[in-house]
């Protein structure tokens, strides 16, 4: 952490010390906070400082905790291997409360108080979107691990990147061929009536149509709903696949009531594991999911064909074969997403090395170096799999996993290709001024 030298930085003002002291006395009420600090510029030998905008509290806290664990493991590995450009890496964590207003303040705090080199690690879409203007205004490279389509939509700004996890549009597009070929061609969607659900509502129908399948009903469930039985009669009887992406604590009730509604004679079920991240798949009430399929970014359960890189990554992060914390089987990880922290940090490392990054004055070079990246090979730095990167839309593309619930575990039954998730760019960040 940087040093704390005093209350006010007077170096850039025309005030005399006496005048300033008068002002200081008048502002004593404000200055009671010990946070009025001055931070010295990073020296070339000083650590590279990464500001981690963490969801420590609020709705994203379960993700935030595992994002922190993964980040700590990646930084430990990077530092053990010599750091970045010969400098050690230090992570400074600030809690954004999973709130977009606070998120923007935290980005400002990293830029102007902690003087970090980059900001990193945000998951929830509304926090990313709320924080992006602050990143752009402070010219602060902002590497998010969100999976939202907001970055690739090119509606944010040139300083926002998502190089370590694919976006939801790409994920849905990748799932469609397998669903149409293996689960069924008449699909009913059940989704929460807010943005995460809207991504699925909007992107799945065209993706399925391209595969000769169709969405025959879309059932939006208000986020405040706690019982779902009344919605199930809306599911058309000819439905072959129920595509569900319910999230939050209500998912347990949702699955239980769906099971009671259908009994043993149900359509195929396909869901996104986002619903059950950090939740034990063997929790009471989830038995109905047996035999159903889920999207997973990275598999929660160890697979027989796991690469050495995947095994090493799991060991480094501290998750066992069931995807729970080593020594605490009840502490289930957010494995499908948190690998993105690990991989993003290695992208940052690569881009900083390519840019010859020395300090905040090189942030623009870092942006350009990141945009110049095109592909990441599978290996210790990218254990989830190989990826391509589109520098114009600041978004990576990679493989996806489709897993089946079998015997209380998730078994990967299909891996998509990178090409399955590619789509036409919707804009070009590189045309924006730095």
């Amino acid at each position: 952490m940087a040093d704390k030298n005093g209350f006010f930085d007077l170096s850039k003002t025309a005030f005399t010390r006496r005048t300033a002291l008068k002002g200081l006395a008048a502002g004593a009420g404000l200055a009671v906070a010990p946070g009025f600090v001055r931070y010295s510029q990073a020296q070339s030998s000083a650590p590279i400082k990464i500001g981690f905008q963490s969801h420590r509290t609020g709705i994203g806290a379960a993700y935030g905790r595992w994002y922190e664990k993964t980040t700590a493991a990646a930084i430990k590995a990077i530092n053990a291997a010599g750091g970045i450009n010969g400098r050690q890496v230090e992570v400074i964590i600030e809690d954004d409360g999973t709130d977009p207003g606070r998120g923007a303040e935290v980005v400002g705090k990293f830029a102007t108080q902690h003087k970090t080199d980059i900001v990193f690690g945000t998951l929830f879409s509304h926090v990313v979107i709320g924080s992006a203007p602050a990143a752009g205004e402070n010219k602060m490279p902002y590497f998010v691990v969100s999976e939202g389509h907001h970055v690739a939509s090119t509606k944010l700004n040139r300083y926002v990147f998502q190089p370590g996890i694919t976006d939801v549009k790409s994920q849905i597009q990748s799932m469609a061929p397998w669903i149409a070929a293996n689960a069924g061609k008449k699909v009913t969607q059940i989704f929460p009536d807010f943005a995460f659900g809207y991504d699925h509502r909007d992107y799945l129908p065209p993706a399925l149509k391209a595969q000769g399948a169709e969405v025959i009903a879309q059932i939006a469930i208000p986020p405040t709903e706690s019982s779902f039985t009344k919605y199930f009669p809306q599911i058309p009887p000819e439905t072959e696949v129920i595509y569900h992406v319910m999230v939050g604590p209500a998912v347990l009730t949702f699955v239980k009531e769906l099971g009671e509604f259908y009994g043993s004679n149900r359509p195929q079920l396909f869901g996104f594991i986002d619903s059950l991240e950090a939740t034990d798949i063997n929790s009471p009430g989830l038995e109905f999911l047996d035999g159903s399929h889920f999207w997973e970014g990275s598999p929660r359960y160890a697979q027989p064909d796991d690469s050495e890189a995947q095994k090493a990554y799991r060991t480094a992060v501290g998750i066992d074969d069931n995807g729970a914390a080593v020594g605490d089987p009840k502490d289930v990880s957010t494995a499908a997403h948190m690998f993105g922290c690990w991989e993003t940090l290695y992208v940052v490392k690569k881009a900083m090395e390519d840019a010859g990054y020395k300090g905040p004055e090189d942030r623009a070079k870092l942006v350009e170096a990141t945009e110049a990246l095109t592909a990441f090979a599978e290996g210790p730095e990218h254990p989830q799999g190989a990826k391509t990167f589109n520098g114009k839309i600041h978004q990576c593309f990679g493989i996806q996993n489709i897993s089946k619930v079998e015997g209380g575990k998730l078994k990967v039954v299909h891996k998509t290709k990178i090409e399955d998730g590619l789509y036409e760019a919707e804009g070009d960040y590189t045309t924006q001024a730095l």
């Binding site: 006010f8 930085d9 007077l10 003002t13 025309a14 005030f15 300033a20 002002g23 200081l24 008048a26 502002g27 009420g29 404000l30 009671v32 906070a33 010990p34 946070g35 009025f36 600090v37 001055r38 420590r56 509290t57 600030e94 809690d95 409360g97 709130d99 977009p100 207003g101 923007a104 303040e105 400002g108 705090k109 102007t112 108080q113 879409s125 509304h126 979107i129 709320g130 992006a132 203007p133 602050a134 752009g136 205004e137 939202g148 907001h150 509606k155 944010l156 700004n157 009536d193 807010f194 943005a195 809207y198």
Partner: protein, 320 residues
Amino acid sequence: MSDASPVKAYALHLGVIALLFVLSFLLPEYYHGLLSRIMVLAVFAIGYNILFGYVGLLSLGHAMFFGAGLYGAGLAVIQLGWGVPLAFVSGIACGAVLALVIGLLALRTTGVAFMIVTMMFAQVFSLLILYFASWTGGDQGMVVPQPARVLTFGATSLDLTNPTVRYMSALALFSVVLLITLAIVRSRYGRVLIAIRENEERTKMLGYDTFSNKLIAVVVSGTICAASGAAYALLFGYVGSSFASVQYSILPLLWVLLGGAATTLGPLIGTVFMYYVIDITSGYTSAYLLIVGIALILLVLFFPKGVLGTIRQRWLGWLP
């Protein structure tokens, strides 16, 4: 408050404005940016204080007025391509119209019923934002593009994303609203509002139309809150539904209670206090809300009328 104190009162308020101006040159970068945000949100608290502090009407729905300003200005820029001045006026107008409608309906109730009715209207407003997601961006919200956040006067332009311009814009808004509030509370109308708070029936008996006076107060309060929301959208570039959630109806209540209800400067003190406590404690523990809670309890114990309210009661009776 005595009639002999206008000079003291105005001098104090102008002094606070001058102090905030000087702080712009003294504060480190981060606290400079933070104070910009605090001043905008203090305007929100000032608006809330008009109704809560001076009329005694406890609303749990003021987030809708802040949200009306936020979306009224933000959507005007994003969806209609309007410039900053027109968008700001649009935000204020949205808040004023909404406050008039809500006031006409909600003022049929008092006390707990008023709280519940305002909270329900705010909930409707919040759900409408989610329902019209294709326009509003739903729960994810929308970014007001940086190039659009420029104020142009002929050949001169002011970039609202520039920290100094943003600080001074926030200070200008805060100063205008603070002085208007001071003028209101010192006016005959302000005394009528206080009379309504103290004893509405007696005020009626004295010949005052209390409904009309309360309605005007709701509109003034809502308009000020909308001005804060509009400024937030234009100065900080984000329009999101979380700002219309119940949390943002409770926050101004807390800020006002902390600083001192029915004091003109209390909302600023409360907002500053809450912001700094959260900012500092969140750096040490994720249980910072526990510390905030303890701080609030201590304040209630030792400053039952809020910081300025207690100071006024014990030492400075002339404080407005």
